[in-house]
């Protein structure tokens, strides 16, 4: 029917307010397309609508030989340095991961019509569609809105998706089902005036239990753990957690906030964050920095004070009146798994993918989605199976899976066969084969290394031998991030990785920093620490060495986290040391490209080709000292000597800065005053140290520590300083690479053709 539009087609089937908002957004798209509004204004607008940039959207891409322009039409940008026609990503908010079959079907259609027919489940229970054109975004939003889904505030400096445990409501150990509260919080805060002026994003999460991984509240900006007190429902409230380059554990704001105070309390937190949070320096703008700066006591005092000033809002308690205490109803009468025939493969799947609910006769069937991906065809089939076996009880999970809840246990064999027929019955959900990964260099503008490429390779290799793995190894979690920003949640994995790079023989080699001993339980109760950077292509062998050593060396039921702590980082580093060297390019070119990508590796698609500098640069020699100091700082933390650890981490930053300075001023002394002065003058003030995206954030760590020495370091102080020192060293490596490239471009060093030559 030519001429018909989705707006006309769906008119009257959508919340009028949502409809109006999308119409306004569509108008803004048109205004920007015709150059009538500023690009920065439009960029913030689209981000707040969940429309994100994607890799290569600056219209340039390194094709393996050289950076090439992508010949997009000459149109106004959709943000600074962001080409209009370049594909982007749309993030779809799924509060507490709850999704219905009807919603799945719509997302399947959208993936097919506007994306690449793949739905990607994120580590925060969202769904992402990639390669979407900006002009398709309004219709995409309309079709989502018609089934009750919004992309509003899925990106930008706003309250992001409200996550929750996927077992909420069916779990054996929860205080009560947190899903209705997560939904209420999302509804209350969406578009709320008090959450529109943050310096950075705010991620909330709900947990039903204290000691399980549950909602991972300890790593969230705001976390809510269900608690009962004198027969009354309420929440332990924590604030100021977060991963990112420098992870923080959340701190307790309130041991018990009654349910009727949940929404006003978070509103008060939002007001304090909006008023006092950093606005100019993005690197210090998350609420974790505000809480750390003020101290939790002062932050709490401010929140309590703010609460008293809030004008009453009926919505604070209205949701309690008609709130279902357990979301979703089963579609079939309960029945336990009987002794009938079991299809081939069922037992292995049952052992890892099925959780028996507290409701007798029902189970959760977990779909182990590879890298969080499923096709439109699979999604439609899943919607059918959900209607047949589970009703509307699907949940996305932070491990990038989907949970089918309230499945009658006796239906599990039939469900397994049906899932198997569409490639959704992979066993090993939440085990070592179920590797989590952020998008990394596949689509993310900030990605340094191919996290998905590595995760795919690990999944393949581990799946092939999973049947032979000891249970202790099967139970481990591997999480991969493409950069230090931690979207893959590597800090809370047994074995985590984040992407970085090293300069070898004038070429850039993809690496992953190895992070060991993160805690998944206790809501992500503690973070792993870095033990060294390993070439990307050596990671699978590194994992084998680590898991073999753990299997052979663990004492009794010792967990991986405890084993790494007992071994100590020095011993662990010895295990990975054999995998750290990089063979010369002449001996093995494979190390010089990343997983699932044949192009010779580059960072950020530099404007000039990689140069062949000296075999080991002066910087390369001198920065080793910094890396050793950072490592020794970690050892000191293990030994409980936090003051030494903090001091060593600071010295690591000084050594790294000095290594940079010495490339230009060989006689700089080892005095901190001289180092900081020269480094600041030569690299920071002129922004040569600045990263394209992080800007001067990592350099500021040194400046801040130099200006504000720590009188008596706590464990948190020391851990934070170690993280900062590692990021400072990484930034120094990146800075040196840029400087060498600049010199080469200016004719200072003879260039060789780089990739695949």
């Amino acid at each position: 029917m030519p001429g018909q539009t989705w707006k006309e087609e769906l008119s009257g089937r959508t919340d009028p307010q949502w409809e109006e908002e999308i119409d306004i957004f569509e108008g803004q798209v048109e205004l920007r397309r015709t150059g009538k509004i500023d690009e920065k204004v439009f960029a913030e607008t689209r981000l707040r609508r969940g429309v994100y940039g994607q890799r290569y959207d600056n219209g340039k891409r390194h094709d393996g030989f050289a950076e090439q322009p992508l010949a997009f039409a000459d149109k106004p940008t959709k943000g600074p340095d962001t080409v209009w026609d370049a594909p982007g990503m749309v993030r779809i908010k799924i509060p507490f991961g709850g999704v219905s079959p009807e919603q799945l079907e719509v997302m399947a259609d959208l993936a097919e019509e506007y994306s690449d027919a793949i739905l990607h489940i994120t580590t925060r229970q969202d769904v992402q569609l990639h390669y979407v054109h900006i002009e398709d975004a309004p219709d995409l939003m309309r079709r989502l809105a018609a089934v009750g889904i919004t992309t509003r505030e899925a990106c930008g400096n706003s309250v992001r998706n409200v996550t929750a445990c996927p077992l909420a409501g069916v779990c054996h150990t929860e205080a009560f089902d947190v899903s209705p509260y997560a939904q209420a919080l999302m509804t209350f805060l969406l578009g709320h005036p008090d959450v529109q002026d943050f310096g950075r994003k705010f991620k909330p999460a709900f947990s039903g239990c204290e000691h399980e991984a549950c909602g991972l509240v300890q790593m969230h900006d705001g976390g809510f753990v269900a608690r009962m007190k004198d027969g009354k429902r309420g929440f332990k409230v924590v604030v100021g957690g977060g991963l990112g380059p420098v992870p923080h554990q959340a701190q307790v704001l309130s041991e018990f906030t009654p349910e009727e105070e949940l929404l006003p309390e978070i509103q008060a937190v939002a007001r304090v964050f909006a008023r006092l949070g950093e606005k100019k320096n993005r690197g210090r703008a998350r609420i974790k920095f505000l809480v750390a700066k003020l101290g939790i006591e002062e932050f709490r005092r401010l929140v309590v004070e703010e609460r008293t000033t809030l004008p009453h809002d009926d919505r604070w308690t209205a949701f309690l009146n008609d709130m279902p205490h357990t979301r979703g109803e089963p579609v079939r009468e309960p029945a336990v798994l009987n002794g009938g025939a079991r299809p081939h493969g069922f037992d292995a799947w049952y052992a890892t993918n099925v959780y028996r609910q507290r409701q007798e006769g029902y189970a959760v069937a977990m779909l182990n989605l590879p890298l969080g991906d499923l096709t439109s065809d699979q999604t439609r089939k899943l919607a059918d199976l959900s209607r047949e076996y589970a009703g509307d009880n699907l949940r996305t999970t932070v491990e990038q899976n989907i949970a089918l809840r309230f499945v009658r246990e006796s239906d599990l064999p039939a469900l397994y066969e049906a899932l198997d027929a569409v490639g959704l019955a992979a066993a090993g959900a939440t085990t070592i084969v179920d590797v989590t990964s952020c998008p990394g260099t596949d689509t993310c503008k900030l990605g340094i290394a191919a996290s998905r490429g590595l995760a795919g390779e690990l999944r393949k290799r581990l799946s092939e031998k999973s049947a032979q793995l000891p249970q202790a190894i099967k139970d481990l979690k591997i999480k991969v991030s493409g950069c230090f920003n931690s979207c893959g949640q590597h800090h809370v994995a047994d074995i985590g990785f984040y992407g970085n790079s090293r300069k070898i023989e004038g070429r850039t080699v993809p690496h992953f920093q190895v992070i060991l001993g993160g805690q998944w339980q206790n809501n992500g109760g503690s973070y792993g620490l870095a033990v060294g950077s390993v070439p990307s292509k050596a990671i699978p062998d590194t994992i084998d060495a680590l898991t073999d050593a753990y299997a052979q060396g663990r004492e009794g039921d010792e967990r991986f986290q405890d084993w790494t702590a007992r071994m100590g980082k020095r011993s662990i580093r010895e295990l990975i040391k054999p995998f750290m060297p990089v063979p010369s390019y002449a001996d093995d070119t494979a190390y010089y490209s990343d997983w699932s990508d044949v192009r010779e590796f580059t960072i950020g698609d530099l404007g000039v080709g990689e140069c062949a500098g000296e075999v080991v640069s002066l910087f390369g020699i001198e920065v080793v000292k910094a890396e050793s100091q950072a490592f020794d700082a970690q050892i000191s933390i293990d030994d409980g000597d936090y003051e030494t650890a903090e001091d060593l981490a600071y010295r690591a930053m000084l050594s790294s800065a000095r290594a940079l300075v010495r490339t230009e001023y060989i006689d700089v002394t080892e005095e901190p005053d001289d180092i900081v002065k020269e480094w600041k003058n030569r690299f920071f003030d002129n922004e040569r140290f600045f990263d394209k995206y992080a800007k001067g954030k990592f350099g500021q760590y040194l400046i801040d520590r130099y200006a504000n020495p720590v009188a008596s370091a706590t464990r948190d102080d020391a851990s934070r300083r170690v993280e900062e020192s590692q990021l400072f060293i990484e930034a120094s490596h990146a800075c040196e690479a840029r400087v060498v490239a600049e010199v080469a471009a200016a004719g200072g060093i003879e260039l060789e053709p780089s990739a695949n030559a």
Partner: protein, 200 residues
Amino acid sequence: MSQQDSPQPRRVSVKFFANPQPGAALDLAPYIGLFHQFIQEKSVEGLLIDVADYTHVPDGPGILLVGHDVDYGIDLAGGRAGLLTVRKRIEGSSFAEALRDTLVKSTGAIAAIHGSDVDQLQFATDALEIQCRDRLALPNTAGGFDAASAALAPLLAEAFGDAKTDITNDAADDARSPLTLRVVAQSPPDAVALLANLRS
């Protein structure tokens, strides 16, 4: 049907199937390198952007060469390997015009793949799957199928010449799927000849 009344979908796809169909041990990794090479050498039509590896997804998109106006993929959907060409962001073209363009791009890509060193798959022209990935313009209904078939028939005659072709509705049993037309041709011309016919 006049041009004005003709459906104008924004996205259509064509899939030519591999013959013979590969076994489960098919290694698609060489196509990653080949597609990067296509970008470097601009070997196929379209504004090409990047290569995506979806080999981890069962019966998924396999290896995808992502473009602005067209995607090419070694696609495994439905358990059948083939070359999937998705024409995107079509503006102001009728279904037949969009399909002609997609077939030209697709047969050109087949020729480029067959002419490369990567020879795991050979693509036949005796069967193809056409999808209208625009449910608003061409819904998966009997009326949609009739409209699409009518628009398609002259194009098939032009492309396949004397070869007899049959069109069936391949997604009639699931109204949620995009309108999917299965074309089977007897004694068809090969991809190079198809391309020549479409360009003549």
